[in-house]
């Protein structure tokens, strides 16, 4: 083996270990049934902590909340982003340029500040600890990414297609339904998946505006790790239920939709 190849393996090996090590430890904790303080590794592995967390009513409800809010967020986000993405992707006006900049705003604003800013409105309307009121909160962070994905899909469609269809008498809705949707579904799907993934991971606004009435999985995990006492095993077991779908989503996006997050690959 030549020196350059050895160097490649060494550098890449260090990076891979650095990235994967935290995940490895998460799995260790999740599956560790017996792990003495003086031992480096668990002495017995099993699924005790998974059944332990699933036995708790609170955790089961957190599952329900997380995995129902995520698809709802996806649908609601797409409902806003598809018409907006159509306009932003097919027209270049000052209004669309302004809108693109405006939409990026939530990415630059701290979620905690948005949360405390929404507090008076939510208090006034009696929306604190309300499941449905969390839906727009989950959409705040999802919209910039979803809209970008949907807009990019619309941009790639030649304008001539719409013009030809309109000249032949198609209505605007027919153009969207019969020309655009079949051609942009991939971008819409990717945008939807981003929204789903964002909602699944949303923590700050749920903690501030939904907790303790509505507890999603990230908030339930926080309860195990951020409270006065720390119980890493159940936190790790619960984390697996979010980390695995999140990583699967990333890999699926890459494999089937060619949304490459890879570098150098």
């Amino acid at each position: 083996m030549d020196k350059q190849r050895l160097l490649d393996i060494l550098v890449i090996g260090i990076v891979v270990v650095y990235i994967v090590l935290p995940l490895f430890v998460l799995f260790e904790y999740a599956f560790a049934e017996v792990w003495y303080a003086y031992q480096l590794f668990p002495s017995k592995l099993g699924i005790k902590w998974f059944s332990w967390v699933l036995k708790h009513h609170d955790t089961r409800v957190a599952f329900l909340y997380s995995y129902t809010l995520a698809p709802l967020t996806m649908i609601a986000t797409l409902a806003i982003c598809i018409p907006a993405g159509y306009v932003l992707g097919t027209r270049r006006t000052r209004l669309t340029a302004f809108t693109e900049n405006l939409v990026n705003l939530p990415m630059a604003l701290p979620a905690i500040v948005i949360g405390i800013g929404l507090l008076p409105l939510y208090t006034k309307l009696g929306l604190l600890n309300n499941y449905w009121a969390l839906l727009p909160c989950h959409m705040i962070g999802a919209i910039p990414y979803t809209l970008r994905s949907v807009t990019a899909a619309f941009i790639q469609i030649p304008k001539d297609l719409e013009d030809a269809a309109r000249n032949l008498g198609a209505t605007r809705l027919q153009v969207i339904r019969k020309i655009y949707i079949p051609l942009v579904w991939r971008g819409i799907l990717v945008g939807g998946i981003f929204a789903f993934s964002w909602s699944l991971n949303e923590f700050v606004l749920t903690l501030l505006l939904g907790f303790p009435g509505v507890k999603t999985l990230p908030v339930a995990i926080y309860e195990y790790v951020g409270g006065y006492y720390l119980t890493p095993q159940p936190a790790a077991a619960l984390s697996i239920f979010i980390v695995i779908p999140s990583i699967l989503i990333a890999l699926l996006l890459e494999k089937y939709l060619q949304i490459s997050l890879r570098m150098g690959g």
């Binding site: 393996i9 907006a84 979620a111 905690i112 405390i116 008076p120 409105l121 727009p136 990583i247 150098g264």
Partner: protein, 295 residues
């Protein structure tokens, strides 16, 4: 002035988005700025809320915790940004120059920090950094073996923000690598080949081709990473110590635990101003990056 049908339709298609942004972004921004002056919006959250500059005076009072918290936030964000961006820059450069075949097989691992929720990322680092964690054992063994320390260092929930830096760098390194890698790919290959044909060494190519052509991308990456670190909540919330605290953790404590709304809103207003300034820088330099490198 009569609006054309096209303009009306454009506006109508964008209207749901505008309404959403007005309610979910516009209202909070107004509430935070108004609340920082003690002016209640929609509802008086506490009886103390009346028009005042007291919150701002308290914020800049060196005997109060806010300035220390602000400096701590900036310091830790700057350290995390420096480490994350430097490591990401050189790793992306390495991938560009070497294009190692091994990397193609393992590159999907880079998606792990990007798709891992911050709260879980923070927890994973907690398990590595607490006294029995692998990273803590290795670091403390090395430092004690070299005689630098007599007792094991506290690497998480510590007053120096070491745990926060570890947690942040894990995520920001990947972000910086991905942005810089795409920027290096935009550098015209013929420039590199021409430099090589004229006898330039790899170091000269980095110094005179890659670095100047990616400088705006580098500035934008620094701004993105710094902003993301500074506004991040979960990592300092879980890995930070009891004091000093990140400003956004202070906001959470002020609002949720101390019910001191004015102080929370003043800190929030500071955050908003800094975030918007950095956001402006990012968009400005990201635009320049594309223009410069496309030339």
């Amino acid at each position: 002035m009569r609006l054309s049908k096209e303009s009306i339709i454009t506006f109508l298609f964008l209207l749901p988005l505008y309404i959403f942004l007005a309610v979910m972004i516009g209202v909070p921004v107004i509430s935070v700025f108004a609340g920082s002056f003690g002016i209640p919006v929609f509802i008086r959250l506490s009886p103390e809320m009346k028009p005042t500059l007291e919150g701002y005076l308290e914020f800049i009072d060196p005997t109060k915790p806010y300035l220390e918290s602000l400096f701590f936030t900036i310091k830790i964000s700057a350290i995390s940004t420096a480490i994350g961006v430097l490591a990401g820059y050189f790793f992306a450069l390495y991938l560009t120059l070497r294009n190692p075949p091994t990397w193609r097989k393992v590159s999907p691992v880079m998606t792990i920090p990007l798709f891992t929720p911050y709260v879980i990322g923070a927890f994973m680092w907690w398990t590595l950094l607490f006294p029995r964690g692998y990273v803590a054992i290795v670091i403390n063994s090395i430092l004690m073996g070299l005689g630098f320390i007599k007792e094991p260092l506290r690497l998480v929930n510590d007053p120096y923000g070491i745990g926060i830096v570890f947690g942040e760098v894990w995520i920001r390194f990947v972000v910086a690598t991905s942005i810089m890698y795409s920027s290096f790919q935009m550098v015209r290959r013929d420039l590199v080949d021409a430099a090589r044909n004229l006898g330039a060494s790899t170091w000269h190519i980095i110094k005179y081709v890659y670095f100047p052509l990616t400088r705006y991308a580098l500035i934008a990456t620094i701004a993105i990473v710094f902003l993301a670190t500074m506004i991040g909540f979960s990592i300092p919330f879980i890995l930070g110590g009891s004091w000093p605290q990140f400003l956004n953790v202070m906001i959470y404590i002020d609002i949720v635990k101390r019910f001191d709304y004015i102080s929370g809103y003043v800190s929030g207003a500071f955050y908003l101003i800094v975030s918007l300034l950095l956001g402006y820088l990012i968009f400005r330099f990201m635009g320049k990056r594309v223009v410069l490198q496309a030339r």
